[in-house]
Structures are given as structure tokens and as C-alpha cells.
Symmetry: C2
Subunit: 117 residues, 2 copies
């Protein structure tokens, strides 16, 4: 067995947090961006929690936030940055490795059985 | 878009934490269990950190810890419980859904393009 085989260093903590994983997946599926209210409904977060996570993801350079007025109402549009897209795709590669590693056991169980005494 | 579509409630926090994800994947691949030192090398944790995570996973009923003496030296063997195996397999299903959702965008980008003016 090789050292660190299951350390999964590619699972960046800023991305791995459950709520942020949902936010980033939503945004990956919508390159044109999502407005705050749509995003909130997709990930089932309160306004306060969503704001907090968005701010952190923006600080980390993963997404950009555009504030504007549409029909005289304020609108917040969130979009993945290109760097964010790349970092998230790298993260997803490690996630696929976890599933691949785990499925080795779940698909075939051919570990040696103890011999009867 | 359906509400909570990307909420991923199946990502149990006790399992989702990066180090514990590595521990559980290691143990899933070894139904006969792993001794402390093997596990520590596979997940690249310090003794203290590994002990802390193992204790929590034992308290949560995900794994069992057996202490014994082998050749007069103390040995700690860790094994997934059957309940832990089931909970981890459920978690992995949600993880596969994340990758499926994310790959929708990364494989095909047929979002409507803005018409030229």
C-alpha cells in the first residue's frame, strides 16, 4: 500500500464544504450566471448563509458578483470565474477518484477468505 | 428549476469531512479491517488527528475499534460496521449525483447563445 493513497489532497477545503459544493455545481451548469434568488432556491440556503458563502467564494477568486438594477429592482448576478471553473474541475477529478476507489470494494469482493480450521 | 435541486442533503457532515472521507474509503476497500499504522499511512494524518477522527466515527456508529496484543505489542484494528458501510454507500450515491450534475455542463455546452445585433 502506498503512503497517502487515500489522503485526497485535491479536495480543496474552500470547495469541499457541502453548501459551497452545491453553489459551485449550480454555477458550473449555468455559465451565463445565476441571480441570487434562483441560486438560493437551488441550494436551499437562507439569504444570510448564501451571502456569507458567496462572499468567501468571491474573496477566493472562484466567482464574481455583479450588482445591477433590472426594472428598477436591485439584482445580484453570480458567475464562476474561469480560474474558479478550472479549480472546480480539478476538485471534481479528485472526487471521481474517491468514487473509483470506493467502487473497487463495492463491485467485487475477492479479498482472501480465512481457511477453515 | 426545482427547489433544493443542488442542496445535496445526502452529504452527511460526519462523513463528508475530507480526512474522514479518506478513512472511510480505506476501510471500505478492506472489509477485514486495517491496523492503526496502516490507516495512518494511507490517509497521511498524524497519530493525534487520526485518533480524534476514529473516536468520532466510532461514537457515530460508523466503525468499530478493537484493541488487542499481537506478539506482546498493542494493536488497534479498525473496521467499518455494517451500518457504517450502508451509510457510506448512501453518501457515495449523493457524491455520484454531484459528479453527474457537474458533468452535464462540462460535457455539452448547448446553452442558448445571444443573437448578434
Amino acid at each position: 500500500m502506498s503512503s497517502g493513497r487515500y489522503a485526497y489532497d485535491g479536495l480543496e477545503r474552500v470547495i469541499h464544504e457541502k453548501a459551497r459544493l452545491g453553489i459551485l455545481t449550480s454555477l458550473l451548469t449555468r455559465p451565463e450566471g445565476l441571480v441570487f434568488a434562483e441560486l438560493r432556491d437551488l441550494v436551499n440556503l437562507t439569504d444570510g448563509n448564501l451571502s456569507r458563502h458567496l462572499k468567501l467564494l468571491e474573496q477566493e477568486g472562484l466567482l464574481s458578483i455583479h450588482k445591477s438594477f433590472v426594472n428598477n429592482r436591485p439584482q445580484t448576478l453570480c458567475q464562476l470565474t474561469e480560474a474558479g471553473r478550472q479549480r472546480f474541475l480539478n476538485y471534481l477529478q479528485t472526487l471521481e477518484q474517491v468514487i473509483k476507489d470506493a467502487s473497487k470494494q463495492t463491485k467485487t469482493d475477492n479479498s482472501p477468505k480465512p481457511k477453515p480450521a
